[in-house]
Amino acid sequence: MSTSHAEHDHGHGSANGDHVPHVLPFKVYIATFATLLFLTVVTVAASYVDIGHTGNLIVALLIATIKASVVALIFMHLKWDHKFHGIIFVSALLFLAVFIGITMSDTEFRGEAEAIEAKNPVDLKDPFKAQRTGDIAIPKEAAAPAAAGSAAPAAGSAAPAAVPAKH
């Protein structure tokens, strides 16, 4: 399909920046449509092959990425457009990746501090004891009695042994 677009190399990015409409042969659109349909069938077929949760996910995302690329490059004409527009398009994907990626640093690791605190409950009468026992600088032998002490708060203490997490 690229052979029929020699003129577009001149049409886009002219000195005055005017946009020249870009027309593709009808058969290219049909071929693209057929490709997308075929890849949809592949997606469904791949879901019946069990290669593990992560494996299936990667395959499905890979096929979806190819489909999205075909749409962007051909239907959206980015293949023949200014490089600058390609950069804009990729930047948008980058922002999406930042949004989802950093959000996952929350959703995938939420509550870990609570788990650690639950293992080392705080003695309100000596609130820093549990932290000291968790300090890797303290030799294990020295820390062991203190850890036992913090796990079993002093009898007769009215205060709860563990305080709820800050959140």
Partner: protein
């Protein structure tokens, strides 16, 4: 700039003198159907000032209620609605569109020597969308108010509140489109319609700040749109997305919301920084020190703004890993902000400083932004924020940034460009009184709240401990001084429309292009297309010197 070979001192021949964009055509219909960026800017200006007045009334009501530790003038439900509507009106009806949509619309084409923005009809559409969104918000106020806080946090907003949440959020959703269209229009205009010779590095820095703002508007606002739509769907159809009782994740809402709303903070402050730059350079008669540093720091702020949203969520239950990452990234915002601050001071150094009214606002901006920005570092520090979160310290901090910096810059810009927009000079003495009361009242009201916050006064509380009452009362008295200052400013500007002296083309002896046409400008902006031959802020005299 007088940096045009084809434009004379006033830029006009006798045929067009006396004609301007205000008197070219007459009647309400000519305004409602105009595609002139200047008229659209003026209509935006009036709209955002109405929004400011509305938000201001709610602010005064909130402060009045907090005069005493128990009930003063309203019950708890009304109080919740008052602070919500204060926040929502100020953020969505005033601050976000304030500088870009009013001053930006008016001056962006003038400053690059263009006749209009790239898509004039789209510009008018964005104004109509803004009005439609505002109507939905006003409808929410009339039909039961909103009591969720301007952040619409779930699950309260999606399932508990009985107020008009859908109407308010839909209004914000529609206004988001207005914001996107304006941003898109500005980006295309700056890329495509700069006058011959107006290279990127010859543009006034206000335009660089508008460019950075537009990038954020286009990239971030759609996320707010999606978030609010999901909220509406959950509230209306009980689709579980954010509400934990429906299987949703409420912290996810905060991620969605702040991914827009933190960059939106820079939508609010970046144009203010741009206005301050124009004021400081013009009224100190000195070229901007560190032009490229200021220009690129605007873009840097825009990019970093997308990486720090989680610092609003340190106590939300997000993972400790996330909090540490966001706290670390937040400090990067300080670098371009510091670059700007030192370059502004460098611009003033050795300048011929004139304490005109716009300059007073410009200098006030420097003071207030320094306080607002530095206290932001306190709150960005994870360990400190755990104590200060949801206290009046946060309230004071963001008022120093939003009100003390953006609103002060907006009013500075309004005084700076008022002669160009209206063709009238205002009463300098009265404007100084208005400024002085605003500046004193602002610090009186909000510095007090820093102290309240560090002493543990939580924000959004209707009743509070008696020990906080004296400081609350003190803050409320300050709000009355602040309100009086704004009232005098409005009276001053309104009076100038009727009885102000005619404004010359360039009353401040500015070097930028918008002053090289008559005041107010003709509909086409310039009689002949300007050709730019000098650098930004460069004067012809410097060239010959």
């Amino acid at each position: 700039m007088a940096n045009t070979a084809t434009v004379d001192e006033l830029g006009h021949s006798p045929e067009v003198r006396g004609k301007n964009y205000l008197n070219q055509t007459a009647g309400v219909w000519s305004w409602l159907t105009t595609v002139d960026h200047k008229r659209i800017g003026i209509m935006y200006l009036v709209s955002v000032l109405v929004g400011f007045g509305l938000g201001g009334i709610f602010a005064l009501l909130v402060r009045l209620e907090l005069l005493t530790a128990k009930k003063t003038i309203m019950d708890a439900t009304q109080y919740n609605q008052a602070f919500t509507l204060h926040g929502a009106a100020m953020v969505f009806l005033f601050i976000i569109p304030s500088i870009p949509a009013s001053l930006g619309n008016f001056f962006l084409p003038l400053m690059i020597g263009a006749k209009d923005v790239a898509f004039p009809r789209l510009n008018l559409l964005s104004l109509y969308l803004f009005w439609i969104g505002a109507i939905f918000m006003l409808a929410a106020i009339v039909t039961g108010g909103v009591d969720t806080g301007w952040t619409f946090y779930v699950p309260y907003a999606s399932g508990v509140s009985t107020t008009s949440v859908i109407s308010a959020t839909f209004g914000v959703f529609v206004m988001g489109f207005s914001s996107i269209l304006t941003g898109l229009n500005f980006i295309v205009t700056l890329h495509k319609l700069r006058a011959p010779g107006m290279s990127w590095y010859r543009m006034p820095l206000f335009l660089w700040s508008l460019y950075a703002t537009s990038i954020i508007q286009v990239l971030a606002t759609p996320v707010l749109g999606i978030t609010l739509l999901l909220l509406i769907f959950e509230r209306a159809f009980h689709i579980g997305i954010f509400d934990p009782t429906l299987g949703g994740d409420p912290v996810l809402f905060q991620h969605f919301f702040w991914f827009y709303s933190h960059p939106a903070v820079y939508i609010m402050i970046l144009p203010g920084m741009g206005v301050a730059t124009e004021i400081l350079t013009t009224h100190s008669k000195r070229r901007v020190f560190g032009y490229k540093a200021i220009a690129f720091s605007s873009v840097a702020i825009a990019l970093v703004s997308f990486l720090v949203w989680g610092h609003h969520m340190f106590v939300s239950g997000q993972s400790e890993l996330s909090s540490a990452i966001f706290s670390f990234l937040t400090f990067f915002v300080a670098i371009p902000s510091g670059v700007k601050m030192f370059n502004w001071l460098g611009t003033l150094w050795g300048g011929s400083i004139r304490f005109t009214v716009p300059m007073l606002y410009g200098i006030a901006f420097l003071f207030l932004f320094a306080i607002g920005g530095l206290t932001g570092l306190f709150l960005g520090t994870l360990s400190v924020d755990l104590h200060l979160h949801d206290t009046y310290f946060v309230v004071a901090h963001f008022h120093y940034v939003m009100m003390g910096s953006t609103a002060i810059a907006f009013f500075g810009g309004l005084h700076h460009w008022w002669p160009k927009m209206t063709g009238k000079m205002y009463d300098e003495k009265l404007a100084r009184v208005g400024f002085a009361l605003t500046f004193i009242g602002f610090n009186w009201t909000f510095f007090t709240q820093f102290i309240l916050g560090t002493r543990g006064m939580p924000r959004r509380y209707y009743n509070y401990l008696d020990q906080f009452q004296p400081l609350h009362a003190f803050s409320t008295y300050g709000s009355w001084v602040l309100g009086t200052g704004f009232l005098i400013t409005f009276i001053c500007l309104a009076r100038s429309l009727k009885s102000g002296a005619p404004a010359p083309a360039n009353p401040w002896d500015s070097a930028t292009l918008e002053w090289q046409t008559q005041s107010p400008p003709i509909t086409e902006n310039f009689e002949k297309a300007p050709i730019v031959t000098l650098d930004a802020y460069e004067r012809p005299a410097e060239e010959t010197a």
